[in-house]
Amino acid sequence: MSKANLLERRSVVSALLEGRKDAIAVGGLGASTYDIAAAGDHDRNFYLWGAMGGAVMIGLGVALAQPELPVVVITGDGEMLMGMGSLATVGLQQPKNLTIIVLDNEVYGETGGQASHTAANTDLVGVAKACGMKDARSLATMAEIKTFAASMQDISAGPRFASIKIDSANLERVLASRDGSFIVNRIRGALGFQPI
């Protein structure tokens, strides 16, 4: 399964979130959510265990509501492909504080490793550019990832999009909370909102 020279997903996500400060992190269902949990549980982590295709839109909703906070969506290629129209919606809104990162292993890892569209012709960076993402790029080295992670704190220069080709090895799951009420109310509490 593993290919040479591809980045290891857990190291990538740890580097992305290491200096997160007050950022809110949204994880797409599947391995991205486990990666975010592996980087360390946090009051501002928005874990998804379903709603495939919804990660970017959840990130947009938070980003519009909290324009002074960095919001980062970290999802997989399969999840992004299911919600590709949401890149057009983000391109229209131009949220300056939103960053979208796709961990692209070119397979549906949770379901047996079937090839995704990005293994062949689909270029998600090209899609993001064409949808009006001001900053859309591929990241290929840990040095680039560290520089990009620091730039996510700049809430005046988004929306940003990055695709990172990663090794497709299935890692041991690190289980985040799967209680939606807990997850969303914990974020709201961290932002100073009371329960109803």
């Binding site: 909703g61 509501a65 919606t89």
Partner: protein, 181 residues
């Protein structure tokens, strides 16, 4: 175009303004929508209100996810769509049960009350059932005079009791779309 739009001399109905005032009163801030002629007057009001963020969507399910994110970030929203869009949302409706967030959608109905286009009928006929099976309460307004009360009730239970609610605006209220005269 709906019948009312083809008769510009006819006065605009007041019920879309009633809806807008209620959304303002409940401090609704994010308004995702897929356009529908029946919502056009309300969409115009939203676009001209600085306190509200209109978010045009490529497909209706985006709006369900957007509103979940908005709530996590401390804002209320409402999803505007046509009945044919309800089917596009089904899996994303899971979020209303999982997060128990204040979900409100206003749905203009097609496929009923003098419909010309048979392609609208299957989804229009199952709209209410789809919501109910998804755990979302359904209210309906069929006459201009009742819109204010029904929207007020729908917004109240959605925002005060976090009860996911869909309000169907009947084709009888909006006027059947006219294809040929």
């Amino acid at each position: 175009m709906h019948a009312r739009n083809e008769a510009p001399t006819e006065a605009a109905p007041s019920w879309p303004d009633d809806i807008f005032e209620i959304l303002q009163r409940f401090d609704v801030r994010q308004v995702p929508y897929v356009p529908d002629a029946g919502h056009s007057q309300l969409i115009e009001r939203v676009l001209s209100e600085r306190a509200m963020r209109a978010v045009p969507l490529t497909t209706e399910e985006e709006g369900v996810a957007l509103l979940a994110g908005a709530w996590a970030g401390g804002q209320r929203g409402v999803l505007l769509m046509q009945s044919s869009g309800v089917g596009n949302c089904v899996n994303m409706f899971s979020l209303t049960q999982i997060f128990r967030f204040p979900f409100l959608t206003l749905v203009t109905m097609r496929g009923e009350w003098g419909e010309f286009n048979p392609w609208q009928v299957p989804m229009g006929s199952t709209t209410s059932g789809v919501f109910e099976l998804s755990g979302i309460k359904v209210l309906r307004a069929s006459h201009g005079g009742e819109v204010r009360d029904v929207v007020d009730a729908a917004a109240g239970q959605a925002y005060n009791a976090c009860t996911p609610t869909a309000l169907l605006l009947s084709q009888r209220l909006i006027g059947a779309k006219v294809f040929v005269k």
